[in-house]
Symmetry: C2
Subunit: 158 residues, 2 copies
């Protein structure tokens, strides 16, 4: 649940997320540490959906000089969500998945189970905005975010 709504998309151009994160942290009286910089960097180098464990592995590889603990990764992921930079994506109930969403267009996820892993494909959900707005209006609420996940099989298996 992000505290600030993510701003409009800026396609084809990476916004200065590091500066955005710094500003967020300052506003909250929190510090911009080396660990947080390194974690944000790893997040930005991830395409699509990722898990905490994958990020931790990435950090071991990309920043071997600076070991970051698991606890710090989890703590920082929470701040990144609060800052509106990443979003939790719920694909299954056994672990959390995350995705960079700041400045990105809304996407849904097509999921194909592949043993215990997933093949996840994104698709745009901009067309759904009217529908979502209508549903929220009918219930007297405003949408903060939404998630559409479609579980699939290859067409021939159905």
């Amino acid at each position: 649940m992000p505290s600030q709504p993510p701003p409009a998309a800026t396609p084809g151009f990476a916004p200065p997320l590091c500066a955005i994160f710094r500003r967020f942290l300052k506003e909250q009286g929190l510090k911009f540490t080396t660990e947080r910089a390194v974690i944000l960097d790893a997040v930005l180098n991830r395409a699509g959906v990722f898990e905490a464990d994958e990020l931790i592995d990435d950090l071991k590889q990309s920043h071997p000089q600076h070991r970051v603990s698991k606890a710090t990764v989890y703590r920082t992921l929470k701040h990144l969500i609060e800052a509106g930079i990443i979003t939790e994506v719920l694909l299954d109930s056994t672990r959390a998945h995350y995705q960079l969403t700041y400045g990105q267009p809304d996407v849904g996820h097509l999921v194909q189970a592949d043993g215990d892993a997933f093949v996840v494909t994104e698709f745009p959900t901009g067309e759904l905005n009217d529908f979502i707005r209508r549903v929220c209006d009918e219930h007297g609420v405003s949408a903060v975010s939404h998630r559409l996940v479609i579980y699939t099989t290859r067409a021939e298996d159905a």
Copy 2:
């Protein structure tokens, strides 16, 4: 991930789910035990989304004569999902939620966080079927199921 697609909706009339579950179990070479009957009964008496723990509590109240272990509840929930009777609903990453979906029209979930609990309201998503079919066609897959969750705040808080 249900192994059989749920059949068409039968509004206003409860289908003989017990018989359906028995048939499913027999087909799989599994047994219809007292515990499974009691658990299905508790599921049918639950409106909307529920958690495993809530079901376990319900069982203590409604069937005090027949204690059912936590392990059996989890094992049976899996079978009910396989049978296409209930579906996992993913609202947050800390625990699984379930819902009776056999013979029910497709619904999405409007979620309002309320501390560590959720207020969940359902809404019909029949209108989305064309969109979903189109997305799947473009990717050469068929939809097995889908979930739309809208996270909200009261309109005035936005």
